[in-house]
Symmetry: C2
Subunit: 121 residues, 2 copies
Amino acid sequence: MKTNAINLTEKLAKFSEHWSPRVVAEMNDYQFKLVKLQGEFVWHTHRDTDEVFLVVQGEMEIGFRDRDVILKAGEMFVVPKGVEHITRAKAECHAMIIEPRGVINTGEADSKLTANNDLWI
Amino acid sequence: MKTNAINLTEKLAKFSEHWSPRVVAEMNDYQFKLVKLQGEFVWHTHRDTDEVFLVVQGEMEIGFRDRDVILKAGEMFVVPKGVEHITRAKAECHAMIIEPRGVINTGEADSKLTANNDLWI
């Protein structure tokens, strides 16, 4: 058993790449990942799972085909499975993603932004 | 689909009871619950699942039989399934709990602190 608390700010200080989620914890078969967002991601869908975003610092947007949702620090949102979405951040935003182990960041999309999905930090 | 972000501070302002988790979101068959802790809970175990604590405000302690883990705002910890634990907070602490739907707060323990496990806010 790990014996220390996981400090999100300290973990975020350990990497700088955008759109490259880093796993910080696992709960059963789910992972907690930190990510730095800036600019615009790619439209994609996760067919088999919901996906949670929780903003730690800054502000991001989750775009859907019929609306946008703004998320500020201390706010979270559940993207329902099967719903196409895109993430955006005008200024760098730090967020936590919670989803099952093995989920690919770009979902069903073919993109150069597809990241290694099990990078721990 | 819900269309607004979930603001944790706003949700926390809506209740005051200690040791009474309130569900704010679901992801697949997992729930995100907010809880206000003050004082000492009860020793208990969740036989079938890990349990995550993420501190939003204040400071809490997760006691194990062989050590204590201190959690401050912005810090999280995964209590492994099957491991007996107790939560404590000297001053009121606000935290998020993430675990499967249906988990009872007192686990296997028989306690007057057992709360309704599906109270939404």
